[in-house]
Amino acid sequence: MGRALDGLTRALDRLLGRCGGLVPPGRRGWAEAVRAEAGEVPPGAARLGWLAGGFWLVAREAGMVRRIGYGLGTVAVAVAAALAVRYLWSGAHAGRDAGWDKARVLLLVALLAGLPWVARRRGVFGPVGHSIAARAVRAGGCAALVALVLDFARIQHFPGQSLSDPGGGAAGGWSWAREVAGLGLIAACLAAVLIVPARWPKVRPVLVAWGAAAAWLALSFTLAPLQVLIAVYAAGILAVTSRRSPVTPATLAISSGIGVAGGLLVVALHDPTRTPRAPGLHPKTQVLLLFVVLVAAIAAGTTTAGAVAARRARSTGDPLTLKAQAWQYLAAGPLTAASAALMLPLLRASAAVHFLANCRAAHPANCTAAPAVWTFFLVAGPLLGLAFGTCLSALPADQTPPKPPPKPPHEPPREPDHSRAGGFFVKI
């Protein structure tokens, strides 16, 4: 036993020496320091434990935990997407709207794989940020989108439910012409954001590009609403979790955590697809309850994330405090709402509640409107969060440090130095 332990210790020591190369060059000394001390530790389990601690240090310094976790998450999402494609093409899923489902899943796979590559020079959509929060939100968000596409396909086969019926927001059944037109508009919208700033750098590129993108998005939404939603959600997830994103890991973690908790809370309060827990409650009141919980989650996520960002920025004395705080507030609202809306149980529950509310109220024509509740949560939630974040982001502006006192009148005016640098617009 002792000999085996010694052999294991020696092997671990050699392995630690080799793994030290994984650590960035400036920090390899720390791994060597642990090895250098191992000789002082009594042989046996104690020395083995000491070397194991060295491995943990190497794993931390090399970011191996994040890399391995994110790698596993990426593989899981890729497998889920492959299974979704296989399911939708296998024949098990057949119906009059199967074409929509196939288009959605192909669009999602193309976006997740293609966006980071298309925008690789500007880094808007990738690579992923270094923090655990960024990696977890990106992997979790992409997985939720794959599940959402599958859930869209599933709900279409509910009696009386169809996402392509008028109540679902798109007219008529499957149409190649409309699908191609919708996808073309989405592609044009995304390309505009990248091409306009590069081609016309002097013509206020950001405003022009985003204005054109918004117009195209609105037009696309009337043709293929769910495809646009999937595209926007995929682009949003990739953007906020990219390395260039101004959204801090704390904001990502707090917003997504509160959003997911809000979604789960709705299901805990009432899930009409299962045993009703509040039989005396009118279905329309239940819809209102769901919305109230969503609004409360948005408010909590935005306020908490913004407050944390404000506290951290103050403590570090960052000169970009106001801009950084505003970004956290602006990002926290939509992020919280999107996290809540992406909770499939929430969507499923809300759709079912809406279905019950309208069908029992002797309005059978409205029964097909249940999917509209999905799009409502997916669209109105982030918009509401954005509005809430915008209002809150105005609050830190009131904390602007007082301007320096005016110069004494006897001081001669300085010559203009032609500098246009501004503290908030310094590029790092």
């Binding site: 000394g29 720390w30 320091a33 250098a36 001390e37 000789g39 530790v41 000491w50 601690g53 240090l57």
Partner: protein
């Protein structure tokens, strides 16, 4: 464990150990024995303290017989001041670091001066 000082209990243990003889250079296993921390806990704390400029680190001079040179640590002047402040903040709660903290740490230069 109270965290009124903003540092974890483990970091306070390290502060307390390094504050005993602030001018002396200490090595990792020595600190591990004194604080009772495992290497996987101790070294990340040391890395963070060094990154923040609260601790100085250097390799042992020369080539000692029969063993590799060690990595040595001691608090910087800023780190020592912060450590004393943190330990005093944690002391009323009766935390372990407070019990280990010496009544009056020596000033740098009074001990181990020949090795500086």
């Amino acid at each position: 464990m109270p965290r009124g000082s903003g540092f974890s209990a483990q970091t306070l243990l390290v502060f307390a150990a390094l504050s005993v003889e602030p001018a002396d250079w200490r090595h990792g296993y020595d600190l591990a024995k004194q604080t009772g921390l495992k290497s996987g806990t101790l070294y990340p704390i040391l890395v963070r303290l060094a990154d923040q400029g609260l601790m100085e680190a250097r390799w042992e001079d020369g080539r000692p017989a029969g063993r590799p040179p060690r990595h040595l640590y001691r608090l910087s002047s800023e780190g020592l001041a912060l450590a004393q402040e943190a330990l005093e903040a944690a002391a009323p709660a009766g935390t372990p670091p407070a019990r280990r903290r010496p009544a009056a740490p020596r000033r740098p230069g009074l001990a181990g001066e020949g090795r500086l």
